[in-house]
Amino acid sequence: MKIGVLVKNVPDTETKIRLTADKQGIETQGVKYVMNTYDEFAVEEALKIRERLQDGTTVTAITLGPERVVETLRTALAMGADEAIHVDDPAFEGGDSLTNARIIARVVEPMGLDLILGGKQGIDYDAAQTCSALAEALGTAQALIAVELKWSEDNQSLEVRRRIEGGDEIVHVKLPAVISCEKGLNEPRYASLPGIMKAKKKEIKKVDLTGVGLDSAEVGASGSATRVVGYSPLSERPECRILEGEPVEIVKELVRALREDAKVL
């Protein structure tokens, strides 16, 4: 089986996100990046399939983004992926999920992948669109938010347990397919120290605009139907007020404050 895994390089969950002065973007200075949490489940699942099949199955990690994202490919390689592809071109900058999925589709099409795994969403922008857009662009089946994969005997189809509101839905999916992964699917392994050292020696393939065979007008900001017009932080929690005095007075004041200041009554 040929498996592709989509991985994304995102700010560490501990990062304190700050907006740039013009509120048009997020301050990247000093931000520590890591592999998107949900993508770790995708990589782990791919490796588990390869280990189970023992038939020369290959796992290729794919990412799109600027030079810094290579470190996430290295992480995937260190966890055990066989190959890695870095899709990068200045023209890709500013693309939305749909546009980026189209680019990735161009990259993976000639590879003849049987299965593509990805995270259920990027924990940075929370769009949760790339996997479905990619399946759409490739014309394959898709199953999102997977918490369990059960394979048929011939490994040509599988049952995907999807986490939905209040329960699970089980869908039967025929390969080729794109599956997005949810927490609970597995326990992602660590990149071991020997794994990291081996990863250093593996080559990372680069694909640029010419490589994907698209026109610069079809990619990046110019190729996107949506455009981010700004960001705004959540409003800060207003200061806490503690009322003091006799209970009767406090209750009176509380009712007044709720009615007049907070306007919730």
Binding site: V34, R74, Y190, A191, S192, L193, P194, I196, M197
Partner: protein, 594 residues
């Protein structure tokens, strides 16, 4: 070959260093950062997540965590490739130690296995011994430990009573005795044991758990690092095959001391990890905890603590990774396949034993300072076991005691340097003599005010180095070979030497950082460096006066004090407001990150 002074341990006292030549925590490669990430994930998911269980000494949990570390390759960093290890650079080794040491008791467990439990075989084992034990130690399949201390012999380790007698057929040594405070002893498979052949020749043996007559006592009830195993090892007529003699007969002291010397740098960096975790906890807490209607982190006295803790960590971190760089520089040319590669490696590390001792002492004392202030910042909650400050406070305390108490290390620091000087390996005494001449001359008044980043501070650093030379020179002249008996003098000199290394390392790192990122971005680093230097010069002055007064009197002393005064004179800067700036930086970040 002519001696290149700058490539010698201790040379920081007599040579100037180019900031570009030092290794700093800002220099880690992508790969090293990946190693760190694995260590970090392991720490959070395995070590800290199981803290309640390990602290309660739930059977099997701590050893299970150690085995997991083995699966990830965290135990094979210092083991030669030839024997199943990774043999990575020392900077990586230190970085990983620093991170996993945030786990309190796990730090000891990890250190006892990878350091004192494994390194004796790495450095002193025969090829057969290495083949047999190292691959399994490297993966954690077997757990190692080190049994030197006895009830009657701690610091005076060579006074051990455990004995080994050759069997009649000459095939075994029969070991008898009791070893105390053996870390990992409760679950170890392999013990590096020191005993005297015929009660005389101090020697080292590899003892397996399953050898008949080996047993472990009950777990000690400890103040801290409760999750680690600390037991007595009882050897009752244990038959140890002669092949398991480690190193040469009667040369066990070489193993005992060298292993502690070469292992010490890890304990030093481990302290940095512990301090960072406690610091991060405290700053977060200070932001959350409100009194008088505002977060306690907004109070000047709290900020004062935050700034002092941060600059303390910064200095130890700077000196530690500078030492890592020195070690890697001296070790990297060694052909790893050479038959005597491990011997050369040990010799390389030995070159920097003084620096390693400094890291251990400064690291452990910085850590204790930090955890003490962390408890204070938590107020009453700092005293309550449900909050993390209490554990930090207890766990840290052991670092000043084991792997050579800080007192023993304080004696080693000037002692080793003086020995080096006597052997002609380091022109320390020449420099001291030259300096004495200089100081007695009338000073050429240097009224120019050179400007530039940390230039004024560099003058102070150079002066502290001069004071180190002056006090050492005067003490050697006065007491000659009897200097060893003057522990007060040695202790003060050790403190001066350590501060010289710390201050200079911080300055070098900061200059490198400022050159890379710009002075604006490096502001906090600059402030921390300055704070530390200005806070310390006064202490150096006091120590130096004590030493001089203990070595001279009358006119001689007066002349020396005049010279000293010239070296410690400085115009104060506004450190109090500088601390507020430093604190604000970390209060915004809520963690130690430069």
């Amino acid at each position: 070959m002519a001696i290149d002074v700058t490539k010698r341990g201790g040379s920081f006292l007599i040579a100037e260093t180019d900031p570009n030549s030092v290794f700093t925590p800002e220099d880690f490669t992508e790969e090293q950062k990946m190693f760190a990430k694995t260590a970090e994930d392991f720490l959070h998911n395995e070590v800290l997540a199981n803290l309640a269980k390990t602290e309660a000494q739930e059977a099997g949990v701590m050893v299970g965590i150690l085995k997991k570390a083995g699966e990830l390759g965290l135990l094979m960093i210092d083991v030669p490739e030839k024997y199943g290890g990774l043999e990575l650079d020392k900077a990586t080794s230190m970085l990983v130690s620093e991170i996993v040491s945030k786990g309190g008791a796990f730090a000891s467990t990890f250190g006892a296995h990878t350091g004192i439990g494994t390194l004796p075989i790495v450095f002193f084992g025969t090829d057969e011994q290495k083949q047999k034990y190292l691959p399994k130690l490297a993966t954690g399949e077997i757990v190692g430990c080190y049994a030197l201390t006895e009830a009657g012999s701690g610091s005076d380790a060579l006074a051990a009573k455990a004995r080994a007698d050759l069997s009649k057929d000459g095939k075994h040594y029969v070991l008898n005795g009791e070893k105390t405070f053996i870390t990992n002893g409760g679950f170890a498979d392999l013990f590096i044991v020191f005993a005297k052949i015929n009660g005389e020749e101090f020697s080292c043996f590899i003892v397996e758990k399953d050898f008949e007559g080996v047993s472990a006592g009950a777990e000690e009830k400890k103040m801290g690092i409760k999750g680690s195993s600390t037991v007595q090892l009882i050897l009752d007529n244990v038959k140890v095959p002669v092949e398991n003699l480690l190193g040469e007969k009667g040369k066990g002291h070489r193993i005992a001391f060298n292993i502690l010397n070469v292992g010490r740098f890890k304990l030093g960096v481990g302290c940095i990890g512990g301090a960072k975790l406690a610091f991060d906890d405290a700053v977060k807490y200070a932001n959350e905890r409100h009194q008088f209607g505002v977060p306690i982190s907004s109070f000047g006295m709290m900020k004062n603590k935050i700034a002092n803790m941060a600059s303390g960590i910064y200095v130890v971190e700077s000196m530690s990774y500078r030492t890592a760089g020195l070690l890697d520089e001296i070790l990297s040319p060694i052909d790893k396949n050479a038959p005597d590669a491990s011997k050369q490696t040990m010799k390389g590390i030995e070159e920097y034993v003084t620096e390693c001792s400094i890291m251990k002492v400064k690291g452990s004392e910085m850590l204790d300072y930090v955890v003490d202030e962390v408890v204070q910042m938590y107020g009453g909650y700092g005293y309550i076991a449900e909050y993390p400050a209490e554990r930090h406070y207890r766990d840290s305390r052991i670092a000043r005691i084991y792997e050579g108490t800080n007192e023993i290390n304080r004696m080693l620091i000037p002692g080793m340097l003086i020995r080096k000087a006597m052997k002609g390996d380091l022109p320390l005494l020449e420099a001291a003599k030259k300096l004495q001449g200089e100081l007695l001359e009338m000073p050429t008044l240097d009224e120019s005010e050179p400007e530039g980043l940390l230039v004024e501070e560099n003058k102070l650093i150079l002066n502290v180095k001069k004071i180190a030379l002056l006090t050492t020179g005067v003490a050697v002249q006065k007491y000659m070979t009897k200097l060893e008996e003057q522990q007060g003098v040695l202790g003060d000199i050790a403190d001066i030497i350590m501060e010289a290394y710390g201050m200079e390392s911080a300055r070098l790192r900061t200059l490198k950082l400022a050159a890379a990122k710009g002075e604006e971005e490096a502001k906090t680093a600059v402030d921390m460096t300055r704070l530390y230097i200005y806070d310390t010069v006064g202490k150096v002055d006091l120590w130096a006066r004590e030493v001089l007064a203990a070595c001279a009197e009358g006119d001689e002393l007066r002349t020396m004090l005049v010279a000293l005064r010239r070296l410690t004179r400085y115009t104060p800067i506004d450190t109090l407001h500088m601390r507020l700036d430093v604190a604000d930086y970390f209060i915004a970040k809520e963690k130690y990150e430069v």
